[in-house]
């Protein structure tokens, strides 16, 4: 057996598994997206309609664009809040003292929870009848005494953003702490001796050196935010009205509530396309960093 045969032979099982578990479902769902197939009418694949589902999506479905707007709003704020808080906490907790390590470990518990569980827990915590967080908020902000947090368009979105941040901040905090630990300590000490204050050192010396890590974190979090589904299902079910119905939630509803599989697949593909573009940008960042 020559080298080349051996190489391909060793890789073959991996390719096979990837083909079965990745490529096949991806190809199949794309195939579905080209059909008009409503599961409630027939268990058989419906008639082939070409790109009609995509056309409908782009030209004749204002509700989809409304959900795209909701997704964009959610993603923008969840990325901004998450990355900012994560960086702030990373700066606060980057040291090695027992307190810092302890707080870090507790925070990471939030990330270790499954997103669906996060949503359910917060739904309970924010319940107007018995939620502890709800009671606390109303005690702290008397003006909100009569606002049902998850039943008001604005506060529901804020809650969704903050709960998402609560879940993701520890992860990105650890990423940033790791990145800061790998910065040459001497550049910071040199800036101290050169006369800079702490704020100036952070914005002038530390942050510029974290630029590529920060870029990658923002892109990753954007992808995570765009495809976030669990908390919408468990906390708001897209409501009140459709004010928190994100694109993934609409895909989910279309597929599993209305059983319009063909159209849901087309929507999912559209979403995947957006994320694919982001993924390209992301890998471009990573590759450029390596060069």
């Amino acid at each position: 057996m020559n080298d080349s045969t051996l190489k391909w032979g060793l890789l073959a099982p991996a390719f096979l598994i990837a083909a079965v578990v990745l490529i096949y479902p991806i190809a199949q769902s794309f195939w579905y997206s080209l059909h008009d197939w409503n599961l409630s009418q027939s268990p058989e694949l419906g008639p082939f309609v070409g790109f009609e589902n995509y056309l409908r999506l782009l030209t004749a479905d204002p509700e989809f664009w409304e959900s795209a707007r909701v997704s964009a709003v959610f993603s923008f704020f969840s990325v901004t809040v998450t990355i900012t808080l994560a960086m702030a906490l990373a700066v606060l907790l980057q040291g090695g003292s027992r307190l810092e390590v302890g707080v870090r470990s507790i925070l990471v518990l939030a990330f270790s929870m499954s997103p669906a569980l996060v949503g359910i827990s917060w739904r309970f915590l924010l319940s107007p009848e018995f939620g502890a967080a709800d009671a606390l908020i109303k005690w702290a902000v008397p003006a909100w005494r009569n606002v049902p947090i998850l039943a008001d368009e604005t506060t529901a979105m804020i809650a969704l953003v903050l709960v998402d941040a609560w879940h993701w901040v520890p992860y990105f905090m650890l990423v940033f702490i790791g990145a800061m630990a790998s910065l040459p300590q001497e550049t910071i000490e040199a800036a101290q001796v050169d006369g800079a204050r702490r704020g100036r050192i952070f914005f002038g010396i530390v942050l510029p050196q974290l630029k590529s890590v920060l870029g990658i974190a923002i892109l990753l979090k954007t992808i995570f935010s765009i495809k976030m589904l669990e908390q919408v299902i468990t906390m708001t079910k897209g409501g009140p009205g459709t004010s928190t119905a994100t694109v993934p939630f609409r895909v989910y509803e279309t597929a599993f509530r209305w059983y319009d599989f063909g159209y849901a697949a087309a929507m999912a593909y559209f979403l995947a396309f957006v994320m694919l573009i982001l993924a390209f940008v992301y890998s471009h960042f990573v590759l450029r960093e390596k060069r």
Binding site: P184, E186, E189, A190, V193, D194, G195, R200
Partner: protein, 351 residues
Amino acid sequence: MASVDLVDICKKFGPVVSVDKQSLSVKDGEFMVFLGPSGCGKTTTMRMIAGLVEPTEGSVLIGGQDVTYDQPRERDVAMVFQNYGLYPHMTVADNIAYPLKVRGVAKADRDRQVREVAAKVELAPLLDRRPSALSGGQRQRVALARAIVRRPKVFLMDEPLSNLDAQLRVTMRAEIKHLQNELGITTIYVTHDQIEALTLADRIVVMNKGVIQQTGTPEEIYNAPANLFVAGFIGSPAMNLIKGSLRGGTFTAPGLSLPLPGRAGATRDDVVLGVRPEDMTVAGEGAATISGPIYATEMTGDAVLVTIAVGSQRLCARGDRHFRGKINDAVALSPNLDYVHLFDGATGERI
């Protein structure tokens, strides 16, 4: 420009004592070198002067002012780091200008001063480059330029040449010495390289295990080491140290008997005799007081190092470069008795 004084300075990291209650004065304009093996506390001492490490006890004075608890930026010192500590996202010009920018110097002024300093350290053509596009020697120059651009009270240099190759180190050594002489700024320089210390320093502080062993000019340190540590640490090849005793002014050890001038009648047990290889000449057998078979000869180019076995000890002498002897040939070594040192065997102190 200013003097630097350390008063009973002490630094503990948990149970580890890094610097143990040491006092030291560096005069205004002096080039002082901290020399010692790794972990001797020399860098910690320098970092306490810079304000990067807070002392556990004691105080640091710069120009007579107590700055022990001042921030680094309040001390008006400049530091050159072992790995240069350049800002990777800034050009060479911005790196050099940074201390001025932080202090609010106007842009036009800044540019002028950067150009002046860059010319001084031969960086002028490289001002637009990033540090990553520079060689080690060039980075070293940028670090130096950044340190001298604002004429601080004190320069601190933490093993600045240790990342350069041997040849460049010699060139940069001369440049640093020249610059310091020209600027006349008090300089504290940390190194573990004795040649650097001896060539650069006005005075050397030899440290070991957090304790200052000796402070003195390079001549004093070399010619009159204060104790066994300094004697053994300074000099290459190392000083020969022979355990023995003093009997009526004569040093005796197994296979060795050496009358010492100026020690007439002195008697003492447990002493250590120290003599540098370069203070001994190689003679034919019987001509001198130390003799034995050749254990090894090493040609170094400008000399031949001859090691002989005496009793259970080995002694090394720096012989003429034309000396040719075979292993086990009997030879004698004749020490220059003006440069023979005696140390107390128990305390290690010079007698």
